[in-house]
Subunit: 219 residues, 3 copies
């Protein structure tokens, strides 16, 4: 396999695991089959669609690539029928999610740079690519986006990975090595943050809430 093949497969793996996380959220909220599919699609593709609309890459990749449109329903079907088993391997899912986070912050920043955005704006858009789908997932399932309050280091590793791509490119460094390095950095930071329970700070004087229960708006 060439490097491009591997990058393409990693990309679809990231889409897949983000879709799994969306489908699992739908099951937790007791949504029906439509909810499972829609949340899988939104979580996996939402961040990239926003990025592509912003840089003017229309139609967005989600509406031109065959893999992008076929992988989320496959993930949705898996969760629909076997969600107890998927939930049992949650640590592995979280590991893949961290990989998706690392990958998408790096490739999102790169694509934005290729479309002429400044390094700063490209890094911002790389972060949006990585965390946007999860934000839409939570908003559509009636919850405040977890990334905004749960104090886990999730956006911060994405910011660092995006910053590495932006700074390296501004410094004249290009190529797969930069992308891979930034993705691995964000991935490792995310995994370490989970392992050692690193916490994002709260505003002065604010005491955090107890860990949230998944909450159902409907009853």
């Amino acid at each position: 396999m060439t490097g491009t093949d591997i990058a393409g497969l990693l990309d679809l793996a990231g889409i897949f695991v983000f879709a799994v996380s969306g489908a699992l959220a739908a099951v937790r909220q007791r949504l029906d089959v439509v909810g499972v599919v829609v949340l899988a699609e939104m979580t996996a593709l939402g961040g990239g669609i926003v990025r592509d609309l912003v840089i003017g890459a229309v139609p967005p990749a989600a509406f031109t690539s065959l893999g992008y449109v076929l992988v989320p329903p496959a993930a949705a079907a898996l969760v629909f029928f076997w969600h107890p088993q998927v939930a049992r391997i949650m640590p592995a899912v979280l590991l893949f999610d961290a990989a998706g986070l690392g990958l998408f912050c790096a490739t999102g920043t790169l694509k934005a740079l290729e479309y002429g955005l400044s390094p700063l704006h490209a890094a911002l858009l790389g972060v949006i690519t990585a965390i946007g789908g999860g934000i839409l997932r939570d908003m559509m399932s009636g919850q405040i986006p977890a990334v905004l309050y749960d104090r886990e280091l999730y956006a911060v590793p994405a910011m660092l990975g995006a910053a590495v791509v932006a700074v390296a490119t501004a410094a004249g460094l290009h190529g797969a090595g930069v992308i891979a390095g930034a993705a691995v950095l964000a991935f490792v930071l995310r995994v370490l943050a989970m392992r050692y329970r690193w916490r994002a700070p709260l505003p002065r004087g604010v005491t955090g809430p107890p860990p949230p229960d998944p909450r159902d708006l409907r009853d």
Copy 2:
């Protein structure tokens, strides 16, 4: 009247009834006049705006057509003053809503095909056109989108109608007959689903919630 005239009138009728559904949701949530107008606009135009942004048809039709911008406020005014009467003819409203669903899944798919999307992606975008406005309506009124959990067959008829347009076009069939046929198919399926209470499946082991009460986030 020519066929184009009729299509244009049907289109505005669909916009109107979607706007009525948005305005009624606003009344149910005890929103004020601004909420009634905004929800009428979002429900009627949201799906088409997303479709047009995705295919690069900017400004979206909602921002170039006079009818599109005048019809939702008219529907909002009707509901604002006479919502008890409108609620009383709810069965008729639901019938028109089914007609709007059928119409928009078919015309949304067609427009996406005309902008060069593949049949599969065009069908996906046709479904988004048909159900996107309702999803935005529910998200803005503080509820989980009904289409994601209420087990009514709403998205599924739209999927079938969109698929018919996509497959027929891929097979070389064009013209108003295909669009009309697909729209009628989705409409009839939706009406039958309401009549016979067909239900979308739930994920394995999930028992559905009791029918949701409209829920007010504010108190």
Copy 3:
């Protein structure tokens, strides 16, 4: 300073105060540092991003201007460390917010006209520019958008300011005077509405809710 300089500074001041309002909402909802920054960004830039996507001005100004991307994090940092002090000068914040509202409804309408939208559609988009960020802020913090139900005259002054720009331009009047006049009109109306507690009407037969408490979806 030239008129352009002043306009640019006013613009950044509007961005700043909208960002402060987003960051304060995040503190009220006990979000963490990521939530404070994201809500500051969304509130300040969301309306303009939607406007630019609709008119095809991509990348949106938020992704090309240095000030637009640096000012919201600065506002977020201010609120993160000194939110009790900021909350104490809330009347001043509301005054600046009214100024931002006036400014953005006027400049948003103007930009839409420059991109060829009809006066009616441009005014609609001007209102979206002014109130869109606040709607996104409330949706992301788990609340029904305040502008939809709280009966304060907030959208209505923006509508009038936008209408003045649209009508004046249609009548052949151009220039900074029109923009300034419309912005001041919307600002003054907004301040008077706060001062005299003018109320937007409710649908017939609907009694408004008690003033809402900020509500936390998480517990």
